[in-house]
Assembly symmetry: C2
Homo-oligomer: 114 residues x 2
Amino acid sequence: MQTTSPDIDTAANILKLLGDKTRLGIVKIVSEQECCVCEFVDLFQMTQPAVSQHLRKLKDVGLVSESRRGQWIFYSLNKTYPFLDFVQKVIEQIPSQKFKLEELEAQGKRICCD
Amino acid sequence: MQTTSPDIDTAANILKLLGDKTRLGIVKIVSEQECCVCEFVDLFQMTQPAVSQHLRKLKDVGLVSESRRGQWIFYSLNKTYPFLDFVQKVIEQIPSQKFKLEELEAQGKRICCD
DNA sequence: TGTATCCATAAGGATATACTTATATAATGA
DNA sequence: TCATTATATAAGTATATCCTTATGGATACA
């Protein structure tokens, strides 16, 4: 699916949003697998409010979307984000972060709702 | 020429640098044609020190390089920047800014050293 | 030599950013 | 109903960022 090409001001705003290592990590991770807040807290060794505030910025522009499952809220890339292609071409150039989720899994800290 | 793929922290720092509309504009423009400081001042309608400070940030990480010609200092993309591919894939997705230089040309404000 | 132009740098201030702690909301389960 | 867990939000703070004004250095030219 082809999305819109951003003008230069829009692109700068998107890059500023991605120009934080926590948010870039979140976006890369949810581009590979959906994930809930407490997992990010573990992955980034940050407080829960700090993570929530980064997620809010990503959600406010529509780059990620949330879906509640019981107590947990899972975040994923929003497939209808207007500039998704732009973001994808950026994040596909950085290394996969799947190993981080695998580390969580090995520690038995992965959240699973079945 | 293939350059290095950035790790996620490095990528975040690069994106933060590009996440400013003035710097992103500068990088896009010098990726298309070298340009001197006074032209950026005209293009962005900013003070000369403000432009110089953005250029310094870009120069400090090695993304742009300068070459003096008489009074003028011309800036261009540094072809030996280690993460040039990463930056190129970002900026090739935003619209060409050549029209801005053409507007300068039409106003007789383009600097030319022959 | 003096002056004008181009550019860099320093210092200061207003605002933005990213965290902290405290608290509120929502769902779960005893 | 009450306690627990997951998450969001509010308020405060330290620092970063981006501009401003002032000034200095380098080059060109009369």
